[in-house]
Structures are given as C-alpha cells and as structure tokens.
C-alpha cells in the first residue's frame, strides 16, 4: 500500500538559510498535518490543511509557512533558520477519519 512520502529525508543547512520540506500524502487523503520533533521530545503540531485550506495552526513560528497544492501535496517553508530548528519534521495524512498516517520524516540539521 502507498504510504506518505517526504522529501528530502535529510537536510543540512546553515543558520539564516531557507529550507523547503515536501510531503506527498497517501492517494485520496485530503488532510495533511505537519509535526516537529526535537531531540528527545515528543512531536509538536505545527499546522494542518484540509482540501488545500489551512485548517488549524499550532506552535508554528512566524518564520515558517506552509501550503497545500492542488494535487494535495504540501510544502513547509522555513526561513531564517536557527540552531533550534534542528529537528525531525513529520508529515501525516488522513482521509477525514480519525487516523493519521505518518511519513518517515525529514531530519533537518542547522549548523
């Protein structure tokens, strides 16, 4: 069965640079969630989209933005990167029911 795809899997950036993370949900899933998991932490909700519209917002910094495109894939754009942004970023998708399927994550390292 198809799963959630995230790219890239690993990303290394310098401070103050910009990063773009991509998420391709499971086919026919219309909802995408982004989570950030810092080292030794639990995942924290950042933002979600339903049918290409932002549906909810969590603890997402103003330096971050995201959108969901017509093909339902989503991108998380991160600017002015800080050392504290180093984390594992998960995307999860859902078909409107109460189960979220997680992608493998993108490990972002900010040097």
């Amino acid at each position: 069965a198809a799963g959630v795809i995230q790219s890239p899997r690993h990303l290394i950036k310098e401070k103050r640079e910009t990063a773009t993370l991509k998420c391709y949900p499971i086919p026919r899933h219309d909802t995408v969630y982004w989570y950030q998991q810092g080292p030794g932490q639990d995942p924290q909700f950042l933002i979600s989209f339903y049918e290409k519209m932002q549906s909810d917002k969590g603890s997402i910094p103003d330096r971050f933005s995201a959108q969901q495109f017509s093909d339902y894939h989503s991108e998380l754009n991160m600017s002015s990167l800080e050392l504290g942004d180093s984390a594992l970023y998960f995307c999860a998708s859902s078909d409107g029911h109460h189960e979220q399927f997680f992608g493998p994550g993108t490990r972002l390292t900010v040097l």
Partner: protein, 116 residues
C-alpha cells in the same frame, strides 16, 4: 487545551513477559480519540492501537490491548508476550473530535526496552 502525561520515561521487560505503559490525560471534552504510537530506532511513527472515547469496550490488536478508564482519564497500554522488536519509544496521543481541529497531542513518551 488538552494535556497528556506519561509518567514512566523508561521501562524494561523480559522477552515473552507482559508490560503495561501508563498514560493519563486531561480534557473537558466528552468525545475524543486516544492512540498509542510506537517509534522504533528508525524514528518512524507507527500506530499501535486506538480507542474511541464513546466505546466502553477496550481496544485490542493482537498482543496489544488498552485499559481505558474514561472517568479516571487513564489510558494504559498492555503488551503481552513481549518481543525484541517491541523495543521502541511509545507515545500516548489525544485527538479531539470537536470542531475542525484533528491534530494529535502527544505525551512525553516511554522508552521500552525488551531484554533477551
């Protein structure tokens, strides 16, 4: 806002034995979902089991079962016949069913080690 508490940062169990991981939560809502996710060293988040709050019957999935006590706001996970592959971080998570928000709120996790 909902909070999820896992008071056991680390636990260990001998292979083939049974272990119970604890989780409590706080919410003013009546309808919600609770989940246990497993995160092995690969860091993939894997759904283990889910429980609908309106169901009195405890969910079971093969060797995994929950003890859901709604009045006490408790949601523990029991793993029977533990296997080496069960070694992972286990997260308890809450999801509201009210409004449009469906994000998961996670506990801090319990690192389970299955010993040979």
């Amino acid at each position: 806002a909902q909070t999820v508490t896992q008071s056991q940062p680390e636990m260990s169990v001998q292979e083939a034995e049974t272990v119970t991981l604890s989780c409590t939560y706080d919410t003013s809502e009546n309808n919600y979902y609770l989940f246990w996710y497993k995160q092995p060293p690969s860091r993939q988040m894997i759904l283990v089991i889910r429980q609908e709050a309106y169901k009195q019957q405890n969910a079971t999935e093969n060797r995994f079962s929950v003890n859901f006590q709604k009045a006490a706001k408790s949601f523990s996970l029991k793993i029977s016949d533990s296997q080496l592959g069960d070694t992972a971080m286990y997260f308890c998570a809450f999801m509201t069913t009210s409004g449009s928000a469906r994000q998961l709120t996670f506990g801090s996790g319990t690192q389970l080690t299955v010993l040979p």
